[in-house]
C-alpha cells in the first residue's frame, strides 16, 4: 500500500483527516447519483444536483493531488466536501420521500402575506 503524506489536521474540532478522500467521495457521489434516479427527470432539483455532483466527480477522478482537488472544487477542505456529500445524500433521500417536485400543495389564504395589513 503506497504511503501518502496526509495533512496533520483539519483545524476543525471533531473532523478527522480523511485517509482516502477520493475513495470516500467516489462512493458517496455514486450513491447520490443512484438515488437521484428515483426522482423524476422533470424535477429541477434532480437536474441541478446531478450537474453539481457530476462536475465534482469529474474533478475527483481527474485530480489525484488532494490540495489541488480542494482548490478546484472550491468549497473548503476535502473533509468538509465529504461532509457535504453525506448531507446531500440525506437530502436526496428525503426529497425523494417527500415528493417535492409536485405541484403546489395549497395557496395561502388571500391577504395572508399582505404587509402592511391595512
Amino acid at each position: 500500500m503506497a504511503s501518502k503524506i496526509l495533512k496533520a489536521t483539519t483545524n476543525i474540532t471533531g473532523l478527522a483527516v480523511s485517509k482516502d478522500p477520493h475513495y470516500a467521495l467516489k462512493l458517496l457521489y455514486g450513491k447520490i447519483l443512484r438515488d437521484l434516479k428515483k426522482i423524476p427527470e422533470t424535477s429541477v432539483y434532480r437536474k441541478y444536483t446531478e450537474d453539481t455532483i457530476n462536475s465534482r466527480l469529474a474533478h475527483v477522478e481527474n485530480e489525484p493531488n488532494i490540495a489541488r482537488l480542494e482548490r478546484k472544487i472550491n468549497c473548503g477542505q476535502i473533509e468538509e466536501v465529504i461532509v457535504q456529500a453525506e448531507n446531500e445524500l440525506m437530502c436526496v433521500r428525503r426529497m425523494a420521500l417527500n415528493n417535492v417536485w409536485g405541484p403546489l400543495i395549497g395557496q395561502a389564504p388571500p391577504n395572508q402575506w399582505k404587509w402592511p395589513i391595512a
Binding site: 444536483t49 450537474d51 448531507n87 402575506w113 395589513i117
Partner: protein, 284 residues
Amino acid sequence: MASSLIRHIARPVLTTSKGFLSAATHRNIPSTLVLLRRTQATAPPGAAAAATPNVPAPSLVRVNVEQRKALLDFGQYVAECLPRFVQHVQMTSTNELEILIHPDGIFSVLAFLKDHTNAQFSSLADITAIDVPTRAYRFELAYNLLSLRFNSRVRVKTYTDELTPIASVCDLFDAANWMEREVWDMYGVYFTNHPDLRRILTDYGFEGHPMRKDFPLPGYTEVRYDEEQRRVVIEPIELTQDYRKFDLSTPWETFPKFRNPIHDDSKKANAPEPAAASGNENKK
C-alpha cells in the same frame, strides 16, 4: 435535454459590506436558468423596493445590487427546486431574502436548506412568530437561517393558527428546541414531534400566552406576599393607576401610501358624540 446546456459560469466575487474582496466560495447557481419558467412563486413581489425614475430616492441608502441579485437568484433556485411548498419569494429593502412556504413543507424546506450543497444553511439563528389577529391563520412563523459556507442569510416564513400544529425541526437543528418552546409559551403554537414542549419564560402556574395581541399589557394576575398565609399568592390584577392611552404620532411620515385615513367617513359621522372614557387624548 442535455445537461451540458447549463454551464456553471464563474460568478463575480461578492464584496462584503466593508468592500473587502474575498476569495469566498460562491454558490454554483447557473446564471442562465434557461429551462426554468417563471412560476407564480417568483413573480415580481409587490414589497420589493423598485426605484422609479420619477420619484426621487428618499434617502442615501446604497443598495448592494450584486448581493441583492445573488440572493434573488438563490431564492428563485429554491422556488424551482421545491415547487410543492414554496408559495412566494420576496426580498426586503435591506437585501434580506424571504421564502414563504406552505406549513406542511417546513421540515422538507429546512432540510433542503440545511443539507443541499448549494444552500448549506447549517445554522438556525432564530424562530419567531408574529400575531396578526385579523388573518385567518393568525400566526406567522419566521425561521432565520445562516450559511457559514456562503456567508448569507435567509428567512423561511409559514403560517398557522391557534389550533393547527406545525412540525418541529428539532431533528435538524438542536437550537430549535428552546426556540420552539419559546414560541409555544409566548404564542401557543403547538409543535409536533418536539421532545420537550413546555413553558420556558412564563411563571410555573401562568395561564395564557403573553405575546398574543389579545393579551393585555399588564396581564390578568398579580403576585404578592401574603403575611397571613405566609406565601406568595396570585390574585387578579389591581392597578393603582388607570391604564392611560396616549395617541402619539411621529412627526415623520411612516406610510406615504396611507396619508388619508381609511375610516374618514365614520369619523365625520361620529364627531358630535362625546369622547370615550377618561384618559384619551384626541389628536384629530
